[in-house]
């Protein structure tokens, strides 16, 4: 494959350097099921959908009807193969289309498809080539329909898809939270010309206007004026130029501002106006800059006129003129700000260049009902075309402003908002945005890098029987470290950057190299151990009077939450001191008053009527769930409160998964009548959250959970642990009472919050009346 190893060619363009061998670019091609291609003026984008086989950890209860022995484990762990669906994206220059198609053809093994969906201006031109090379029938789709379909898809499925651009700010990209209701919006597509499309629903959109002054005008006129042929080079020229030598400004006419109209002196009165009167040579840079301003302003003005006329405030910009170019994003943003006085924000999209390809793919997949699934970005899977390696050109990369294209997984379950969020449109899961907070970013990137050795070691140990475990673990190390380095140079490379995204990226990378659940044995062992103490703990609590019991239960929950393998300080203790247990943990806990302490308010509330139903987002396996959470659940049940226990659908660190929880609950029910009756009377219900993350995004939860929450009239939400209650959701505002509690097991974070390691956060809130 050496002939194909540099599909992208030369290094002068910022958006096309590929140095990876193509079998890494076209990942999972052998299982590709569907193809869609978007052939633009110079770039081709290919989207393909293939099945990905990967390992998943499963737990299965042993048959315990017989006698129990002390050394028989609680449940059986097995690793199975699972097939999931994944969407991949590739782009290459049209010049390499033949080479790429040949490669695709050679590697299509398992496909049953007979057609390829094609869109874009070049679809017509390359139709015969596609049919000849791929032996697939080309099915052309309308460009604008594909664009809109793709746009709807990313806005709905990808958190932080849209962003505003702020030049010179740190960071330059401000990601927007996804609104559940994306319609109506305006899409301004700046290709060779400009199309202004109003999108009202999934299927309803209308081109309400347009302009012939677009990207082709910049490129065509620019080429004539500066003798520079490439679009990228023209943009670079423009970014170095001074438009004031070519344009006639208000102050050139007035000598200053035109005050009565509020027109400042620096405003352009006449684009290229000076070249009409002055007999002098103008530099290429200056002319390119003037041209860029002229076109951006003109588009901005039209966009505003249409936004105002149709009363729309969400305006997204796309097309090759924009495509991640900081220069044009800036001039468009500036123009929109100027014309709307800040009323309308110019929004851009991370997957902008792929909307057509995604839309074409969705058109082809209509029979599969793609909209009934939720999709998620896979942080591990960079589809082929990564930008320039940060090690080689860190500066260039930073400036390029492009985003790496991640693969998208089709999720098993449909994800929706937690109905209890007070305002889902303003909900932001993450507490700290690491793209904005440079100090926190520096700390966490280093923290994750330092923890990498331990994670690699854990991964290897988790698969003692597999010979290639060490090799795969090393590959994992390389990949994750590379991601961390990329993020150091370009924090916005994958959208927003948060502790959650760093954790999730690690999980995704582990999965990528077939480490589906490195903590499975640890979890098994700890669950087993904790179960033995369950009754003792319950008994000791029951002896106490009401008030003391409430405190003991809360303290037990907090102490349980100490057992977190995700926190380095704790995992170090647990690795070196096997005797460290529940009582030791209690002693480590901060004494009241806690760092955040609304315990008194909580206890007052408990003296009142019982809650109708409590939704409990749980954290770790072992002591945490069994000795910390269950005794409290038991108390709530006794009070007359129904309890919904929400656990992760898939593994993440030592967090308890839904399958594990089912087994554990069964075991506890067998020895505790309260839990047993709760289960049989459906007053204690186990649900999965839909997530496989150590953190929690309340806007992407399993639909079943949301339904249950509504049915049961949930009036209390308990969120436990650093990942779910501190890194995320600390500021989440709910319609009902909420209790967020965690032990801060990281001294840097504790200090930042004004406390010390093992400080306690106990945040009980009631909705504003």
């Amino acid at each position: 494959m050496a002939t194909c190893s540099r599909i992208g060619g030369g290094g002068h363009s910022m958006d096309k350097s590929i140095t990876l061998p193509p079998d890494e670019i076209f990942r999972n091609l052998e299982n590709a099921k569907r193809f869609a291609i978007d052939i633009g003026g110079s770039l081709t984008k290919l989207a393909y959908y293939s099945t990905v086989q990967h390992k998943v950890a499963k737990v299965r209860s042993f048959d315990h009807t017989g006698k129990e022995t002390e050394d028989e484990p609680l449940y059986e762990i097995s690793v199975q193969e699972e097939i999931t669906a994944r969407l991949h994206f590739i782009k290459f220059e049209n010049a390499y289309i033949e080479t790429c198609l040949d490669f695709v053809k050679d590697h299509l093994v398992n496909t049953e498809t007979k057609v390829i969906k094609a869109t874009g201006g070049g679809a017509h031109k390359f139709k015969d080539l596609l049919e000849k090379k791929l032996k697939l029938k080309v099915d052309k789709e309308d460009e604008m329909s594909c664009l809109i379909k793709g746009c709807n898809f990313v806005l709905k499925n990808i958190p932080h898809e849209a962003f505003v651009y702020v030049k010179h700010a740190e960071p330059e990209f401000r990601f927007q939270t996804t609104h559940p209701d994306i319609f109506p919006y305006l899409l301004i597509n700046i290709g060779s010309g400009v199309s202004i499309v109003k999108v009202e629903s999934e299927d309803k959109f209308e081109r309400i206007g347009g302009s012939s002054i677009g990207g082709g005008t910049f490129w065509g006129l620019g080429a004539l004026l500066t003798k520079t042929k490439r679009f990228d080079e023209l943009l670079q020229l423009a970014s170095r130029g001074q438009h004031t030598s070519v344009d006639m400004l208000v102050k050139d006419i007035y000598g200053g501002a035109y005050g009565s109209l509020g027109l400042t002196g620096d405003l352009i009165a006449s684009s290229f106006g000076k070249s009409a009167t002055a007999d002098k040579e103008f530099s290429k840079e200056d002319m390119a800059k003037s041209l860029l301003h002229m076109i951006s302003n003109d588009i901005g003005q039209l966009a505003c006129l249409y936004a105002r006329l149709h009363n729309l405030s969400r305006v997204y910009f796309g097309g090759f003129f924009i495509r991640g170019h900081p220069v044009t994003m800036h001039t468009i943003t500036y123009s929109i700000n100027f014309f709307t006085k800040g009323e309308v924000q110019a929004l851009f999209l991370r997957h902008e260049g792929y909307l057509g390809a995604i839309g074409a793919f969705l058109k082809g997949a209509e029979e599969d009902n793609p909209n009934q699934y939720s999709w998620g970005e896979n942080y591990a899977g960079s589809s082929g075309l990564m930008s320039v390696s940060p090690d080689m050109f860190p500066m260039q990369r930073t400036r390029s402003g492009t985003f790496d294209m991640l693969e998208m997984d089709r999720l098993e379950r449909q994800l929706v908002n937690l109905p209890l969020l007070l305002d889902s449109s303003s909900y932001i899961p993450d507490t700290v945005d690491l793209t904005e907070d440079a100090m926190a970013r520096e700390y966490w990137l280093s923290c994750f890098e330092e923890a990498l050795d331990g994670v690699v070691k854990r991964a290897v140990v988790s698969q003692p029987d597999l010979q290639d475990a060490r090799e795969r673990a090393e590959k994992f190390r390389l990949k994750y470290r590379h991601k961390l380095q990329t993020l150091r140079h370009q924090p916005c490379a994958y959208g927003s950057l948060t502790v959650r995204s760093l954790l999730d990226t690690r999980e995704h990378c582990l999965n990528e190299f077939n480490f589906p659940d490195p903590y499975s044995q640890i979890k098994q062992r700890e669950n087993d151990l904790a179960l033995r103490y369950f009754q003792k703990v319950v008994r000791s609590v029951e002896m106490l009077n009401w008030e003391d019991r409430q405190f003991a239960l809360v303290k037990g929950l907090l102490a349980g939450n100490m057992f977190d393998w995700g926190a380095k300080a704790v995992s170090d203790v647990l690795e070196t001191d096997p005797t460290f247990g529940f009582d030791e943990a209690k002693q480590q806990l901060q004494e009241r008053p806690w760092l955040v302490d609304s315990y008194s308010k909580w206890i007052e509330r408990l003296k009142g009527p019982p809650h109708k139903c409590a939704l409990f987002f749980i954290d770790n396996s072992g002591i945490d769930i069994i000795l910390g959470v269950f005794p409290l659940v038991r108390e709530l049940l006794c009070r007359g409160t129904e309890v919904v226990l929400a656990s992760n659908s898939g593994p993440a660190l030592n967090d308890v998964t839904y399958n594990e929880l089912q087994i554990l609950t069964e075991r506890i029910a067998a020895m505790d009548s309260v839990i047993h009756s709760g289960i049989t009377k459906e007053r204690l219900i186990l649900v999965q959250s839909g997530s496989s993350s150590p953190c929690l995004d309340l806007s992407r939860l399993d639909k079943g959970l949301a339904t249950l929450v509504r049915e049961r009239h949930t009036d209390l939400v308990v969120i436990e642990g650093m990942g779910r209650a501190i890194h995320t959701n600390y500021y989440a505002v709910l319609r009902c009472e909420s209790l967020k509690l965690a032990v801060i097991k990281n001294s840097w974070l504790a200090e930042r919050l004004g406390g010390k390691i093992y400080s306690v956060v106990f945040k009980y809130e009631q909705p504003a009346k």
């Binding site: 082709g216 490129w219 006449s270």
Partner: protein
Amino acid sequence: MKIKDAKKPSFPWFGMDIGGTLVKLVYFEPIDISAEEEQEEVESLKSIRKYLTSNVAYGSTGIRDTHLELKNHTLLGRRGNLHFIRFPTHDLPTFIQMGHDKNFSTLHTVLCATGGGAYKFEQEFRTIGNLQLHKKDELDCLVKGLLYIDSPSFNGQAECYYYENAMEPEKCRKMPYNLEDPYPLLVVNIGSGVSILAVYSKDNYKRVSGTSLGGGTFLGLCSLLTGCDSFEEALEMASKGDSTRADKLVKDIYGGHYERFDLPGWAVASSFGNMIHKEKREAVSKEDLARATLVTITNNIGWIAKMCAVSEKIDRVVFVGNFLRVNTLSMKLLSDALKYWSHGQQKALFLEHEGYFGAVGALLGLLDVD
């Protein structure tokens, strides 16, 4: 009468509009001068009158638009001819110097001026010409001048007109339009840049929009692309060119109409869009480029005007400004574009004194001067 006479400003009566590219000057030449008055008329005033009225060209760049002259016109109780003169703004220093040389300042005249240059060159008028400018707001003057000139008929013909069948050379006709009841009116003033005003009554107007893509942009781009030296030369080239060799049309992309969006194949999809290809750049002529520049700028102004007309709910759009001078091509393009995209709802109107309304408005400023 005597008292009123006393309040009349002394001659000469000028109104001046100093724009980014051109200075527009209107001069009132009294023709009811009594013998007594002629006797009293100082030498310098006489010489100015003689100089302005006996020439049609001043220096190498100044021009009197004789076809626009308003004959036998009454202003402030005096009868006279209104003359319309223009010269490039970069020659303004020469004009000021001349004023100095001809002892203009001794006439105690009130010199009303508008346009950005009234501010920018105020200092030079004072220090070199020893002249005090009475500065008037540009848009006030424009609206005032426009409403003033429109009301009388222009030497017996209509001031306001429109084009019928604009894009059919055989059938195209210039038709008079009665603008007796002008309100509401959208005024698009195309000078170096463009200002768009919505006029609701004599005293009620607002600037609703504007664009920097105006006459200056046409001439500027044209001179860079073709090396032409003047507006007239650029127009001459444009009249011979074919813009579709530089522009990419809808049919160049879709092979015909873009049905999904009801876009006709002949519509321009991308101005200069064909120029991204080397072979097409090599095949294009200077005339084609001049034409494409003109079409691009004109259509863009038409489109913005159309949008403003829709949002202001005004159907009559009058285009003024010197960009339209001897530029029937642009006027026809605007007529057609407005009619097509508004489905016949909006009408493009033009005025004979296209670029001079600001200067006329300035001249009327004499009325307010005490």
